[in-house]
């Protein structure tokens, strides 16, 4: 019995060492996902936070405004950018240019607080980047509390100096109020507005890669690919036919997921729900092309699954399908620019959450299609050279 156990264990180890796919799944795949998640979510657990540019418009020009600006300058992760025009500040947020929040210190803020009022700073926020907005608002909230405290202490000492000879008032509380960066949009987001397209894209990628790569391996294993080639049909034509069918399936899959998200979770469909077809077309095309790449680099049927799942998950995570892209460190955001998922999620966020017109999705579509064309070219060249 013991001998059988020992010999079986030895042989199992031998088989394991000789199977690169198992080793890949055991070691490489988790390392990829851990790396992406670790770098992306590190700041949530107290790691080094990203730095933010904070546009500030001072319309008050009073003492309180000076104190606010001075205090903001001392905040480590914040780089101040002083502007004169509130609309310009708003535009910076809507352009998503590393500025999830812009601040306007309204005219009369200093006077209002001195008069015991409760003036409010105006924060233009990007609802898609809610987590970053919240992080910045924590800083600003603390800053308001400190500034109010300082103003109160100054007023208190004045009262003590002058006694009750003058009718001095204690300053009121400084606070802030959120305004959407884009007129008409909400300042908060239904989480499903992020997760439905995000996980929809993730499963579209997984389904597409496994679907295309596995059916191509099946065709090869069954011998049907050879039989079709003998019919005189060019291999490129056969491949494009397969990709086209899967491309249509991908579009239907995504449309159904969005419809389910709308029906069950009340996700926002933006100004023009039909415009959501634009990023859907882009990601379906790129995912289909990537499926061909996986089919061309996988060495066997069994290697498709680990390869496809790892690539899909890494691409989805880096591209902002699971969390906002701005969680990620700069180098990963740079890498993300080369992923179709990044542009697709940008388009979905613009259309669904930021209520942008359909034209906002055209640039992401061009980028996604461009990446897809590169995948398609590489996949076709390699697959055809191996099988024709």
């Amino acid at each position: 019995m013991l001998r059988a156990i020992w010999l079986t264990a030895q042989n199992e180890a031998r088989l394991l060492i000789k199977d690169p796919i198992v080793l890949f799944m055991l070691l490489f795949a988790p390392v990829v996902i851990i790396t992406v998640a670790g770098y992306s979510l590190g700041s949530l657990y107290g790691g080094s936070a990203n730095s933010f540019r904070l546009p500030v418009v001072d319309l008050d020009h009073g003492k309180l405004a000076d104190r606010i600006v001075e205090a903001l300058r001392k905040e480590h992760p914040i780089t101040l950018e002083m502007l004169d025009d509130p609309d310009e500040a708003r535009r910076l947020v809507s352009r998503r240019d590393r500025t999830p929040v812009a601040m306007v210190i309204p005219a009369g803020t200093s006077a209002a607080i001195a008069a015991g009022g409760e003036p409010r700073l105006i924060l233009f926020v990007d609802p898609v980047r809610r987590v970053e907005v919240n992080a910045l608002e924590l800083h600003i909230d603390e800053l308001c509390r400190r500034v109010t405290e300082q103003a109160r202490m100054a007023a208190q000492s004045q009262i003590e100096s002058f006694g009750a000879q003058q009718a001095l008032m204690l300053p009121g509380d400084l606070g802030f109020v959120e305004h959407p960066a884009i007129e008409g949009e909400a300042v908060t987001v239904n989480a499903f507005d992020q997760y439905v397209p995000g996980f929809g894209v993730t499963f579209l990628l997984i389904g597409m890669m496994l679907g295309i790569a596995l059916t191509l391996f099946d065709e090869r294993d069954w011998g049907t690919l050879k039989r079709l080639q003998v019919s005189g049909a060019p291999l490129t034509g056969l491949l494009l036919g397969k990709l086209f069918a899967r491309f249509i399936v991908g579009i239907v899959q995504m449309v159904l997921l969005i419809a389910v998200g709308w029906a069950l979770f009340g996700i926002t469909l933006g100004r023009n729900p039909l415009a959501l077809i634009i990023p859907t077309i882009g990601i379906s095309f790129a995912a289909a092309a990537l499926g061909l790449v996986v089919a061309s680099i996988a060495t066997a049927h069994d290697s498709v699954m680990p390869l496809g799942v790892t690539i899909s998950m890494a691409m989805a995570a880096i591209g902002g399908c699971w969390w906002p892209l701005d969680f990620e460190p700069a180098w990963m955001r740079e890498l993300a620019r080369w992923m179709p998922t990044t542009w697709t999620m940008q388009a979905f966020n613009d259309l669904m959450i930021r209520h942008q017109p359909p034209s906002a999705a055209l640039r992401p579509l061009a980028a996604t299609m461009g990446i897809g064309v590169i995948f398609l070219g590489a996949g076709l060249i390699r697959f055809v050279s191996l099988n024709d």
């Binding site: 069954w222 011998g223 019919s231 005189g232």
Partner: protein, 316 residues
């Protein structure tokens, strides 16, 4: 239909190497309408490479392919070729009709033509009643028949069959061979690769014996069998003692494969016409023959004689 003179498909001095290994070395062959040419050879001999080149799946390093006597771009041959590969080149989840219809359409048939051809092909192989059933529900023999139907649905002028009867029962094999003969009789030129010599003997009009990448024998069955140098054998069962010289006094007789079993002997004779004379000679030697079997040289004998006993898989 007797084979016509002009070949449909000719391969002239085709060669193919995989790295340093020469898989085909200046092989020339031709196949005519109505003819079944058996492509025989040990494992690794070059049969699959030959079929792949003829099926346009591989490009030869050198040599030419002629169609109706004219050089042709192999890529344009699809419509006239039908391939029945050794592996079941079928979609398991599709029905028999869907499988055949898909390949018919891929061969360039219109919808109506494909529908008609699909019915005809399934009828010919006896699967019309099961046309709507998924392929994975079929028996091994039925799958082979469906595999054949997919290869012939477009009525190819040249039919390439790569061991189409592997793993099927006798009934299915019988039906397959009958159908293949039928296609040849209808005018198709058939190249039939097989390891079963009795199949080749039964349906092939001509044999192409290939070994180590070279065509080592070609011709009708009689010619190839004679090239093997085999002679008729008589397996004797006798009672009593043999003379001291055993069979040495009989002209044109050689004792072969002595088993050492008393009462049994195998004699090789010059020709079938010589057998009666030998049996008469045995009587004059007072050999008490109680039974005998006559074994004519066959394709298996010629195959072994021409290709040897070495296991090719080990050599390669």
């Amino acid at each position: 239909m007797s084979p016509a003179e002009a070949p449909i498909l000719e391969a002239i001095e085709i060669s193919k190497s995989y790295g340093a290994r020469r898989a085909l070395d200046n092989v020339s062959l031709a196949v005519r309408p109505g003819e079944i040419a058996g492509l025989l050879g040990p494992n690794g001999a070059g049969k699959t490479t030959t079929l792949s080149i003829l099926a346009t799946l591989l490009r030869p390093d050198s040599g030419r392919i002629l169609i109706d006597g004219k050089p042709t771009d192999p890529r344009g041959l699809g419509h006239m070729l039908g391939l029945v590969p050794q592996s079941l080149a079928l979609y398991p989840t599709l029905s028999a009709a869907q499988n055949v219809w898909h390949f018919a359409r891929m061969q360039g048939l219109s919808r109506d033509e494909a529908t008609d051809s699909c019915k005809r092909a399934l009828d010919e192989v006896g699967l019309i009643e099961r046309a709507g059933d998924p392929m994975h529900a079929f028996s091994g023999g039925m799958k082979r028949l469906l595999n054949l139907a997919c290869g012939v649905v477009h009525r190819p002028r040249v039919l390439l069959l790569d061991e189409p009867t592997v793993g099927v029962d006798l009934q299915s094999r019988e039906q397959l061979l009958t159908r293949i003969r039928h296609y040849a009789d209808a005018g198709a030129a058939v190249i039939y690769s097989t390891h079963y010599m009795e199949e080749a003997e039964r349906i092939c009009d001509r044999v192409l014996l290939i070994d180590r990448g070279k065509l080592i024998a070609e011709g009708d069955l009689e010619k190839v069998i004679s090239l093997g140098g085999g002679r008729p054998r008589i397996e004797l069962t006798y009672r009593g003692q043999l003379p001291e010289v055993r069979f040495g006094r009989l002209a044109g007789v050689r004792e072969v494969g002595a088993t050492g079993i008393e009462g049994k002997a195998t004699l090789e004779v010059n020709s079938l016409g010589h057998v009666a004379e030998v049996l008469q000679g045995l009587r004059t030697l007072d050999v008490n023959v109680i039974d005998f079997n006559l074994h004519s040289p066959n394709l298996s004998d010629a195959f072994i004689a021409l290709t040897g006993h070495t296991l090719r898989d080990q050599v390669l």
